[in-house]
């Protein structure tokens, strides 16, 4: 993506020429037009053939709009609610009421930071247990008042530290999933940037799942997959391609409902255009969901998730069934034969 810097440079130059152009007596409009055409052509060339790994980088680009940018642009009167009523307030996950197209909605959104200071506050967008518990509280409240829930997903993953684990981060994610699967109000989730594994899904069990064109959604980061499966750090690009984590792949696999088009180069290049497209999509999906009775909505949500999966009939020739071929009865000591010399192998070895 070093070419992106060339584009940025060209853009800056055009801006400078424009300034000169406004000075009396200098006419540079011909040059400016030429450069702009060149810029457009370069942009098209660069972004028409993005690899999956390049998309991951766009999804993580700090220039990319974050949740609060969307909230400011598409919703009015955001009234933030704080705290999980149990332990604390997570600034990486926001919840609150807002007005959207003539109705009150409950927003649940993961927020990253741009500056070091912001990132300290937002934990680099990594949600902690108190974040998911705040989300649960907010969603239950939305259910009580019949407000639709809109979640904006943008996280590298749930925060994996000791204090997270002590507060049962896994249990908090599970509780959030259970809450969403039963919530008697429409839920729409939008992956606006990074959809990082269980930390993203935890607020992503929805009636409609939308992805921005350059967002990614994956069971594990490409870097994590490279380390675990390829056992080589340099294989992130291969891992990104293998994981099928782009909006286009996931739409083809039937795992998401819609892709929101972004301007060439990413949502930050023309934010108005991006929010217009997203708003339109949200409005039509909300209308669609609100036309259903609550039982229809819940049945459809159940069917959607009950049927997710890809498997095939067992090839009987290939596999001996349990009874016919009892597994080895040798005591299995693999548990304590760690390669790295520690007593036990890391449990996350082949999986996330």
């Amino acid at each position: 993506m070093s070419d992106e810097r060339t584009l940025d440079l060209l853009e800056t130059k055009i801006g400078e020429l424009r300034q000169l152009n406004s000075i009396d007596g200098i006419d540079l409009s011909g040059e400016i037009d030429k450069l702009e055409a060149k810029l457009e052509a370069l942009r098209r060339e660069l972004y028409s053939s993005l690899s999956d790994w390049e998309r991951v980088k766009i999804a993580r680009n700090p220039k990319r709009p974050y949740a609060l940018d969307y909230i400011d642009a598409m919703f009015t009167g955001f009234y933030e609610l704080h705290g999980d009523r149990l332990f604390g307030d997570d600034r990486a996950l926001l919840a609150g009421l807002a007005q959207f197209n003539g109705r009150t909605v409950m927003l649940v959104a993961q927020q990253k930071g741009r500056t070091t200071e912001e990132n300290q506050e937002r934990f680099f967008g990594m949600t902690r247990p108190q974040g998911y518990r705040k989300a649960i509280r907010a969603m239950r409240m939305a259910e009580r008042f019949g407000f639709p829930v809109i979640t904006l997903i943008d996280t590298p993953g749930a925060y994996p530290g000791v204090e997270s684990e002590a507060a049962n981060i896994g249990g908090a994610i599970a509780e959030s999933l259970l809450t969403m699967s039963q919530l008697r109000t429409p839920i729409i989730s939008v992956i606006i940037g990074e959809g990082g594994s269980g930390g993203a899904l935890a607020i992503g069990l929805a009636d409609r799942v939308l992805m921005l064109e350059n967002a990614v959604y994956s069971v594990i980061t490409p870097e994590g997959a490279a380390a675990i499966l390829w056992k080589e750090k340099g294989k992130s690009a291969e891992a990104a391609a293998a994981l099928n984590l782009t909006a286009e792949h996931l739409s083809d696999l039937g795992l998401i409902d819609a892709i929101i088009a972004e301007p060439l180069g990413g949502a930050h290049k023309d934010f108005d255009q991006t929010t217009q497209a997203l708003k339109q999509s949200l409005v039509s999906f909300l209308d669609e969901l609100e036309a259903l009775t609550m039982d229809e909505l819940l049945d459809a949500r159940f069917d959607r998730y009950r049927s997710i999966g890809s498997y095939q009939e067992l090839g009987t020739s290939r596999v001996a069934i349990l009874e016919e071929n009892p597994p080895q009865v040798e005591p299995d000591i693999s548990k304590i034969s760690a390669e790295d010399g520690s007593k036990k192998p890391s449990a996350d070895a082949p999986v996330e």
């Binding site: 749930a158 530290g161 997270s164 684990e165 002590a166 049962n168 896994g170 249990g171 994610i173 599970a174 259970l178 699967s181 594994s197 269980g198 935890a202 069990l205 994956s218 069971v219 594990i220 997959a225 380390a227 675990i228 499966l229 390829w230 293998a242 994981l243 984590l245 696999l253 795992l255 159940f302 998730y305 009950r306 997710i308 999966g309 890809s310 498997y311 095939q312 067992l314 290939r318 596999v319 069934i321 349990l322 009874e323 009892p326 597994p327 080895q328 005591p331 299995d332 000591i333 693999s334 548990k335 304590i336 034969s337 007593k343 890391s346 449990a347 996350d348 070895a349 082949p350 999986v351």
Partner: protein
Amino acid sequence: MSIFKDKQYLRVNVDSAPDDSLWMKCKSCGELVFKRRVRENNNICPSCGEYFFLTVKERIDMLVDEGTFDNISKSIEASDPLHFVDRKSYQDRIAQAQGITGLPDALVVGRARIDGMPVILGVMDFRFIGGSMGSVMGEQICHGMETAVGDHCPFILVSSSGGARLQEGLFSLMQMAKTTTVRARLAEAGLPFISIMTYPTSGGVQASIASLGDIIIAERGAMIGFAGRRVIQFTIAQELPDNYQTDEFAFEHGAIDRVVQRAHMREELSSLLGFFVGAA
């Protein structure tokens, strides 16, 4: 600062276990132990008490009334929806794991009785790609829970899993949502779900179905947690306490109800089920 570097000793493998299939060396305490004694001791080292993995069959035999287990698993296997290839192809990994375990995938589910009480029991096998949850495991767990609803009996799940199966990408992640969604049906039907966490219960399995038991019991020696040690050290490089993500850690922090020794798990289940019989 010392001008001498710490001496680096060459590690020599002095594994002197006699080439005799009757004996094995415990890699935890280094003792040579008689294999049959290990087996008689529920696959626990008689010398140091280290818990070794159980196969699905061993686990089932240990928990249910003899001869009562009826395998109801759906006749399905992984279909490799992403045509996933890392250093090995997913299809090769599946074939290899099937060869080692004799199982179609990492979970077996069936009807059984515990002290005469009917249950649906699902058991994971860590040797099958780390007990990872992909589409097949997700479907089998749901099938088990739905059968429990149909039979009107409790559901017991014994987890031993590193988490979601990476090779199925987002399909695997979605099994968390899928199993959670179906789990609610057990609750609606008023049926108990007992989740047993063994070594290890982590990642996407811990962050979904395994953490949603009405009662959660850890087997002694279990590892319980969301993000593995390496993930933490890799992402935030935090110092970790010695007992981090152990059964003890989970218990101290209120994530589980009890810690039970392997040899006592069956009687534990039996007395626990007793509270629900009649109710179920």
